[in-house]
Amino acid sequence: MIVTRVLEFLPLAFVLGTAMAALRHEEMPAIQRAALRNSGKILLWLVIGCAAIQGVLWIVQD
């Protein structure tokens, strides 16, 4: 369930991270580095958030 949700949001994380990088940086190499960094951070927080919600649901339903 978590894996499916993360895979669904993976392109959105990449788009959001790339747009943020493009708005902040000027040169293409800097944009590429920042895009990867931003996408990774967004994805990490997404995984943490999904896992936390799943954990809370598991506790509540148990």
């Binding site: 990449f14 788009v15 790339t18 747009a19 493009a22 708005l23 902040r24 000027e26 040169e27 293409m28």
Partner: protein, 164 residues
């Protein structure tokens, strides 16, 4: 850092709204414009293809209003859209709507950013809003070791006395 020519913000905003990235391209920031165009239009088209012909349609007016933020791609998808589309799984339709909503909202932010840059107020990006001392890499007046702040010329401080 290349100099950005000052342009009128209104045509820059309209261009950036109609075609994602075109506002920055108009300002001469080609790399930024290309990246924005590729990511935003790519995601929007992927969403429109994923969700079918009903993704951008008057069947969902609350989403359609926001999807218009993508400009011409939204107009194209709306023109070929079908208000009564063939049955698709609801999850797939919702994912398509989400994939079109996010780039549409990001395009509105990008168009406003281009309009702000058109005035020449912030040509280099948000990091230039917080200038740093090149020798220390810290903001001026930083207690850790940055350069001392420049004295305010409007306030006259007498020697050894308090300002009241």
């Amino acid at each position: 850092m290349p100099a950005v020519p000052t342009r009128h913000p209104l045509p820059t905003w309209i261009l950036g709204w109609l075609v994602p990235g075109a506002g920055h391209w108009y300002l001469g920031q080609r790399a930024r414009g290309l990246v924005l165009f590729g990511t935003l239009v790519g995601c929007f088209v992927a969403g429109a293809l994923l969700g079918g012909r009903g993704t951008v349609s008057s069947r969902h007016p609350e989403f359609l209003v926001l999807q218009w933020g993508a400009g011409l791609p939204a107009a194209g998808a709306w023109a070929v859209g079908d208000p009564e589309p063939a049955d698709l799984p609801v999850a797939r339709r919702e994912l398509g709507i989400l994939y079109t909503l996010v780039p549409a909202l990001l395009n509105m932010v990008a168009a406003l950013d281009a309009a702000a840059r058109a005035t020449g107020a912030n040509p280099g990006g948000t990091e230039k809003l917080h200038p740093v001392d090149p020798s220390s890499g810290l903001p001026p007046g930083d207690p850790i070791g940055g350069a001392p702040p420049a004295p305010d010329p409007g306030v006259d401080i007498p020697a050894g006395g308090d300002v009241t």
